[in-house]
Symmetry: C2
């Protein structure tokens, strides 16, 4: 799979700069060779924002970017003005390096054209000498086939690189992600870069990315912990010459984000089950999401699934914590179905819980029918396991 370099007009690289003690790749560079330089970003809503998030928010505000530099091995969060200066210096270094090989004055890159993402331990300065040397190496390694190397360079506790692609009629969308995120929080962050060679203006790109993340990355919630560094970036080169409709673009970007989000769940730290909690017949979509999220955030429910225990009482109890003005429903009306067995009917005992098989596979499907409307939503999570506790206690991140 070639991920972010599937669409035309992009080069990428991933190199080992020594930020990770393992010697694995830890600096990635993605360059949009145009002709368009359209960019959009969705950034963490955490009020504590890492330096690269503050930088990227500003740099992408004009709807354009030439490159994205990403590092693992350090989040550059809670590092004060010095940390922000480090991010600024990284962007300037990328700009200078890319400008050195510019064929024409228009190809020269400014620091404000460079978006920055970091992931790793909070509260520690980045080793700037190693990082800047890594930028030089990555710039030298840029390739139209570099998507896979870049996807590997942003891995932290990920066991596999995550890439996705969607090919349409004459244009394509590609993506990479690491996670982390609200998901597998060993390194506390979800990062994703999505590329397309469609002809897209900034407003359309922004709207498509927000619509896509709302129903994909935002519906993956392993432990309710929101990172200081979460970043999803969309770059459009226009190199295909094809202009899809806004709906077509949104559909393809959403498909790539959904694919990446599902891969994050499948690789979540320490998890032994992927759990899809679907709420049906809710009064509206927000209500469905609120109930699903309450269940996916219940440690009791998640621990029960780890124990292959279809403990529907914990599902119902979690649903009952959602305020009525957020999700109107009658607690005595709801049904709960786990892997096809309706273990709770009308708020009471349904089929025998012994009929539910949770040991057979990794995927668990929980459906909660609120009997309160027509809206549906699914939120993905993982079970709460010994390995989750181990990885997040033994490993400072």
């Amino acid at each position: 799979m070639t991920g972010i370099t599937t669409p035309q007009g992009f080069r990428a690289a991933g190199v080992a700069a020594g930020l990770k003690s393992t010697g694995a790749r830890d600096v990635a560079l993605v360059v949009n060779d145009g002709p368009l330089r359209t960019a959009a970003a969705v950034l963490t809503s955490n009020r504590v924002q890492a330096a690269p998030v503050l930088w990227t928010r500003q740099a992408v505000s004009d709807g354009a970017a030439r490159a994205v530099v990403l590092n693992s091995g350090g989040a550059n969060a809670c590092t004060g003005p010095e940390g922000f200066a480090d991010t600024h210096r990284t962007a300037e270094h990328v700009a200078a390096t890319l400008s050195a090989s510019a064929a024409t004055p228009e190809d020269e890159v400014g620091a404000a054209d460079v978006l920055v993402c970091s992931t790793g331990l909070i509260g520690v300065r980045l080793p700037m000498d190693a990082l800047l040397a890594g930028v030089d190496a990555a710039a030298g390694a840029l390739s139209p086939d570099g998507g896979d190397a870049a996807a590997h360079a942003i891995m932290t506790t990920d066991t596999v690189a995550k890439q996705a692609e969607q090919v349409r009629d004459g244009w394509a969308v590609g993506g990479m992600a690491k996670g982390a995120g609200m998901l597998a929080p060993g390194l506390a962050t979800m990062l994703s870069v999505v590329t397309t060679d469609a002809v897209v203006d900034a407003a359309t790109a922004d709207a498509a990315l927000r619509a896509a993340t709302r129903t994909t990355f935002d519906r993956v919630d392993s432990d309710g912990c929101m990172s200081t560094n979460d970043t999803v970036i969309l770059l459009a080169s226009g190199a295909s010459g094809v202009t899809p409709t806004a709906e077509e673009l949104t559909e393809a970007v959403t498909a790539v984000c959904a694919d990446l989000a599902r891969r994050l769940v499948a690789d979540a730290e320490g998890a032994s089950h992927d759990i899809a909690v679907t709420v049906t017949h809710a009064s509206d979509e927000d209500a469905a999401v609120a109930v699903a999220r309450a269940v996916t955030r219940s440690n009791l429910f998640k621990a029960a699934i780890f124990g292959n225990d279809p403990n529907w009482g914990r599902v119902v109890a979690a649903a009952g914590t959602v305020p009525e003005d957020v999700a109107p429903f009658d607690p005595l009306a709801i049904d709960v179905t786990i892997n096809g067995v309706q273990v709770c009917r009308a708020g009471g005992v349904g089929e025998p819980r012994e009929l539910v098989d949770l040991a057979a596979g990794r995927e668990v499907r929980v459906e909660i029918d609120l009997h309160a409307g027509d809206a549906t939503a699914t939120v993905w999570t993982n079970d709460l396991t010994h390995d989750y506790v181990h990885e997040n206690s033994a490993y400072s991140s």
Copy 2:
């Protein structure tokens, strides 16, 4: 310690009725012999409410009660109309049993004078024959020294009975609790009965109990899971003949509830640390509680403490998830102190984290200074451990 039978005017008992497979005590009875029959209750705010919660809410609405019957070994939640009928039948049986020994017609007890509490697995009917036989046995064993036996009969995964008492000038307050609760949710419920021999009317009792629980039981939050059965009851006999002021009553009831709440934390399932998260200089008390609760609900933070890792980045990241309209503060101003070491200063790196000793004792103190006002609040939680996952996955509850 004599707990709920420390104040005059109360008898209690705890017997083994066979609801627990272990043969341990599982039915408790508390009788208020008056002369007053004042009662108040604070019940779970979960919208999914067990049959005994629905019953008790109604029975206590007149501000009076003669007795409380409590059982472990079954929550009687999500059991439909049949479950409610079981609770009703239990209350009627207690009323009839107590009325049989009534000396005068005024001593006769109606079902509506009996409050009911249950704790155990959700979605399973209670074994009524065993329970009603247990009520008979408990009624026969009622004693002015029975507080300790009752406190043992409500234990579930508790390793010790929890009791507390406060003696004032001529009057006293006593209490027992089991937890569970939002705390150690093996059996999904926190139950507490608090007694006093002070002369108290219903409105004063209700106000005192609400004020006490707001700053004690409501500030203990091991895993954010709210039970379908949580119940705290205050009974006043007036037997001392002393009428404290409302402030004096509230102070003593709060002291008992705080003592019990601290005991719940100390005995939380699978925990190896008790963690007090104190937020100082918040704009108001609600803001302080919201920030403290966000931290106590962070699995990442709780797992780090289990690993003796003073990971202040996870504290700051959790604080940053609280919306600004709930808790206004500047993320670049906050300080975090863990066990006396200010590891985060002004949102950035403070003293070296290596100076923090988390291995020495069970108690951990985290202080978050928001520099945004004058309000303070503390929320208690526990660490997230292998044993928590084990107890809540291997044990259906």
